[in-house]
């Protein structure tokens, strides 16, 4: 049994440690693997008789598809390994996803009529429809970018912020829906407020999308430091994810707005609450799938591909939202037509 220490490159995320160890453990001749992310080294115990150089080459051949290279000498490591390769797989994958999404909008499948009387059951159904609609570009895009970012930074194990986000969303929809029910017809969510919030969400998505793509090296593109600390808060604090969850109540989404109007005219706290809560509950399956599958993907060997594909999806949706925000602000004529 021999023990070797190799240099490893491409370890950009906390989950990389697990991923590299998983891949290398699958090799018969590897008995034990330890990855040290800080030192960017990998320690391997093996019963193979090959020399370290050959061994490094064999190991690299196993990990290169995921963007990692292993070498005896640090100088031999390319700066960004296999990244391009993953990117060119992620680009069509991400675009295919976006095209499917737009086709779904264009198909008219979602243009269902629900009649005029709204019960908690119909608002639940409307919630499900809404979660596949263009609202997904705003709310879903934001959730995808935030969860992928959290998963990328935090070893893919930290599900607490995601749970807090969904709780914040459900509870705030119930409470705010109830309030709309009491306050009655005269109150509504201000158009300018929701548009500005939508713009803000798009900018956040754009930054996170670029970050997920990771095509810029760290020193060229980093998040502004205060924005970065805001994301750290979302990842670790309790309040921030709840606030983002509550914020989704005000994001521009035709379905949410229509449900708010219904809650307004419902006339009581209880009925307003049930309408908005069932609506939020209807949107939960898709949104939960988006956020929690991010965590699972981040934990699998498809992690680099997932992060980059998510980056592509998020960037395209962010641009779509930005253009739409400019349209409703009257700065440019309508461009999209579903």
């Amino acid at each position: 049994m021999k023990k070797y220490t190799f240099h490893v490159s491409g370890t950009h995320c906390a989950s990389c440690k697990i991923l590299i160890e998983d891949i290398l453990k699958e090799q018969d001749f590897v008995k034990d693997v330890q990855v040290n992310l800080k030192k960017e080294i990998v320690e391997i115990e093996t019963d193979s008789d090959q020399n370290p150089e050959d061994l490094a080459q064999i190991l690299t051949s196993k990990t290169i598809a995921n963007g990692y290279a292993i070498s005896v000498d640090k100088k031999d490591l390319p700066a960004v390994v296999g990244d391009d390769n993953v990117f060119w797989k992620a680009l069509p994958l991400g675009l295919a996803f976006v095209v499917l999404f737009f086709l779904l909008q264009k198909s008219g499948i979602l243009n269902l009529s629900f009649g005029s009387s709204i019960t908690p059951t119909t608002s639940f159904l409307i919630g499900i429809i809404a979660s596949f609609s263009s609202c997904l570009a705003v709310v879903g895009g934001l959730i995808l970018s935030l969860s992928a970012k959290i998963a990328k930074d935090d070893d893919g194990k930290n599900k607490k912020p995601l749970i807090l986000f969904h709780m914040g969303r459900l509870v705030s929809f119930a409470v705010l829906g109830g309030l709309l029910g009491i306050l009655g017809k005269e109150i509504g969510v201000s158009f300018i407020f929701s548009t500005i919030l939508g713009l803000l969400a798009s900018v956040v998505m754009l930054l996170l999308g670029i970050n997920l793509l990771g095509i810029f090296k760290k020193n060229i593109f980093t998040l502004p430091s205060n924005l970065f600390s805001f994301f750290r808060k979302i990842e670790h604090a309790t309040l921030a994810p709840i606030v983002v969850g509550i914020g989704t109540f005000f994001l521009p989404c035709g379905f949410t707005q229509a449900m708010q109007i219904t809650a307004l005219s419902s006339g009581s706290f209880i009925s307003g609450m049930f309408i908005m809560f069932s609506f939020a509950l209807g949107t939960l399956p898709v949104l939960a799938l988006l956020s929690f599958s991010s965590v699972s993907f981040a934990h699998s060997k498809y992690a680099p591909l997932f992060f980059k594909s998510a980056g592509v999806v998020v960037i395209v949706l962010a641009l779509f939202n930005l253009i739409n925000s400019l349209v409703v602000l009257g700065l440019i004529p309508p461009i999209f037509n579903f």
Binding site: K106, G108, S116, A130, F191, Q257, M259, V327, V328, I335
Partner: protein, 129 residues
């Protein structure tokens, strides 16, 4: 290199398909007089239905007379339930079912552009002399 060319090819095909389908609908304005524009008691009424977009998407109306836009909704919960006309600073939420009127005052000659609150369902009214 092979991967790159394949990726670009696939991406282009996907985008092309999306555009082909997106351009599918033929939207010619209906001739004036037999369409959605009527004049009742010296008031011009432009009727649009709002569900999954606005119909008709393009209307032709007369400029210079008092005009209202009348939206009919029927179980509308999608984006078209929130009407936005940026140039007149109108942002109006329609009731899920019923008729909602938006007063346009006395419009000048020109094209009035509007959309739903998220921008992806447009409509326009061409005010002519």
């Amino acid at each position: 290199m092979k991967n790159i060319s394949i990726s670009i090819l696939v991406a282009l095909v996907l985008i092309a398909v999306a555009f082909l389908i997106a351009k599918g609908g033929d939207r010619t304005p209906l001739p004036n007089g037999e369409n959605n524009v009527s004049v009742v008691e010296e008031r011009q009424i432009i009727d649009l239905t709002a569900v999954g977009g606005y119909s008709p998407e393009k209307s032709i109306a007369k400029a210079g007379i008092p005009t209202v836009l009348r939206f009919t909704t029927n179980g509308t919960f999608d984006c078209s339930s929130s009407v936005r006309i940026p140039s007149m600073n109108v942002s109006k939420n329609l009731a899920p079912a019923g008729i909602t009127e938006i007063d346009l005052g006395i419009p000048k000659v020109g094209i009035l552009q509007g959309s739903c609150g998220m921008g992806m369902y447009p409509f326009e009214i061409d005010f002519q002399n």
